[in-house]
């Protein structure tokens, strides 16, 4: 038995076009984790989820879900895995309820007699009971997303692979879904949450993996990853020039002044030393703060500043 809900080694997908969408990634998602799977658009997140589910076959490497090697044990493992892959997809001329019935009917490991109870419970969990009999065609994007989450929760799952589950939801819905994910995690499910919303990751994730150009460029528990970003000292002062001089003199690097705010990488200089030096240098200090572990900065550092999607 392994304590990894998802593990892969050298998992690679090269498309026929020659593009390497996923390049030798070694995922390690501990059981019980809420794993934030980050990366710019086109960095290979969705292709990775497709590989994990066995929808596409890897060019190289292998992986296992819940301790079962895939795709060999797909029939045993996948019923315990709920998934959203690349957004919701349902039959437009069937109602939400009938769509869920179809997916439930396709699962040969569930008890047909409990189907209505399970489907009803899943609809309640995502707040979609009232619209269950409407045709999917008439659903808003948020309702479609909720239905996809309901489909992933048709039965208890040990692992959830969720590709941008809050995409298209209103702020209220986003909060509800985050609360639901935390609830599921507390009940023992492992969650892999693919997203590009850093605030989402900061709020609910315990672990983070960052994809860039098909590679897994970082993977660690969130606090550990935060600690990697160099802490910066930030001084609010009416004399930015003076502060810049003192800070540079102390050995801070990347010192930059924006209005009355001067920041610089501390490089081991303890905050009290810096404040004392400022005061001794007759620089008036109105406020002082240590900025540590900015996830956004780390993300940009790992994946580049460019606005373009990964090719």
């Amino acid at each position: 038995m392994t304590d990894l809900a998802i593990s892969s080694s050298g998992l690679t997908k090269r498309f026929r076009s020659g593009q390497v969408a996923v390049n030798a990634i070694d995922l390690a998602v501990p059981t019980g984790a809420v794993y934030g799977f980050l990366g710019p658009n086109g960095s290979g997140k969705t292709t990775t989820i497709r590989l994990l589910l066995g929808l596409i076959r890897p060019t190289a490497g292998d992986h296992s879900l819940l301790g079962g090697p895939m795709p060999r044990e797909a029939a045993q493992v996948l019923p315990r895995v709920g998934a959203i892959v690349e957004g919701p997809a349902f039959h437009p001329y069937l109602s939400g309820l009938d769509n869920l019935r179809r997916l439930d009917a396709a699962d040969r490991t569930v008890d047909a007699r409990t189907a209505s109870a399970r489907i009803g419970a899943a609809l309640d969990r995502v707040g979609l009971r009232a619209a269950a009999d409407k045709r999917y065609h008439h659903y808003s994007l948020g309702m479609r997303q909720r239905l996809a989450i309901a489909a992933a929760l048709l039965r208890p799952r040990d692992l959830l692979l969720l590709d941008e589950p809050t995409n298209g939801l209103d702020p209220q819905g986003t909060r509800e879904v985050r609360a639901l994910l935390l609830e599921l995690a507390q009940a023992g499910s492992t969650v892999l949450l693919s997203t590009h919303l850093l605030s989402e990751v900061e709020q609910i994730c315990t672990h983070v993996g960052v994809m860039h150009l098909g590679r897994l460029v970082a993977q660690a528990p969130l606090p550990e990853l935060r600690a990697r970003t160099a802490p910066r000292g930030a001084v609010r002062t009416p004399d930015p020039d003076g502060a810049t001089r003192v800070m540079t003199g102390l050995g801070l690097t990347e010192v930059a002044a924006v209005g009355d705010l001067v920041t610089g990488v501390l490089n081991g200089v303890v905050p009290e030393t810096l404040v004392a030096a400022l005061v001794h240098g007759d620089v008036p200090v109105r406020g002082f703060e240590v900025l540590a572990g900015n996830l956004e900065e780390m993300f940009v550092e790992l994946t580049g500043e460019g606005f373009d999607v990964s090719g």
Binding site: P79, T109, V110, L184
Partner: protein, 289 residues
Amino acid sequence: MSAAEVAPAGQGVPAQARRQVPARFFRSELLLIFGRRRNWVGGLILISVPVILAIAVRASPPSGGESAPFLDRITGNGLFVALAALVLEMPLFLPIAVAAIAGDSLAGEANLGTLRYLLAVPVDRARLVLVKLGGIVVFTVAATFLVAGVGALLGLALFGGGPLVTLSGSTVPFGEGAGRLLLICGYVALCMVALGAIGLFISSLTEQPIAATTATLIVALASQIMDQIPQLSAIGPYLPTHHWLAFGDLLRDPIGYDGVRPGAASALVYLAVFGTAAWARFAGRDVGS
């Protein structure tokens, strides 16, 4: 609320419930086909042929000379409305209906994206191909019997029944005549199922249901055209449509099998080959939709 409260896990399912589940997914597939308005409209178009035929013959009975097969026999026995309708619909209308369903089978799910969710359930790929083929078979049989059933009922109502004059000139009792009609429906359905298997295979190649439907229809039409070209007579017997109209044999006395036996064999071979090809193609395909 913990995940465990929602429902018992799969491990506790009694064996009895497990056995009934494959049928559950198949029922869901039938619901998908027969619950779709588009397919009901298609059904209406299919039954329009026997309806128009019966009314037209009733209004102005044919007076000998050239006419569509069986048309001149309708006034003698209403069952011939069903037979004439099948002859008229076999080249185009029935193939369109079958191509629409078969082309949509896998490509439609791929196009909507529902395919990835079915496979993630998981639905075994071989099982999915089998369920889709089953849906095509049920639809095809239903469409054939719909045309023949409406034709027979309307024909009997307008022209009456009674003994049926066979193509050999002899007369068989009404019961046997109706039995012959059922046999013909079975043969027609089998021929159409073979086309459906070709459509299923084409549907496994693409994510565009319209393209799969069109391609299937082109196969049916091209095969009929090639069958008309004398220079291609060497390959004629191997074309999927070659034996389609051989069902007249079943109206002879005694029943002739020279056309329907190779026809049935050909349909079964096409069904087996293209059903297997669809599975082979689909089992190894990357689902990127």
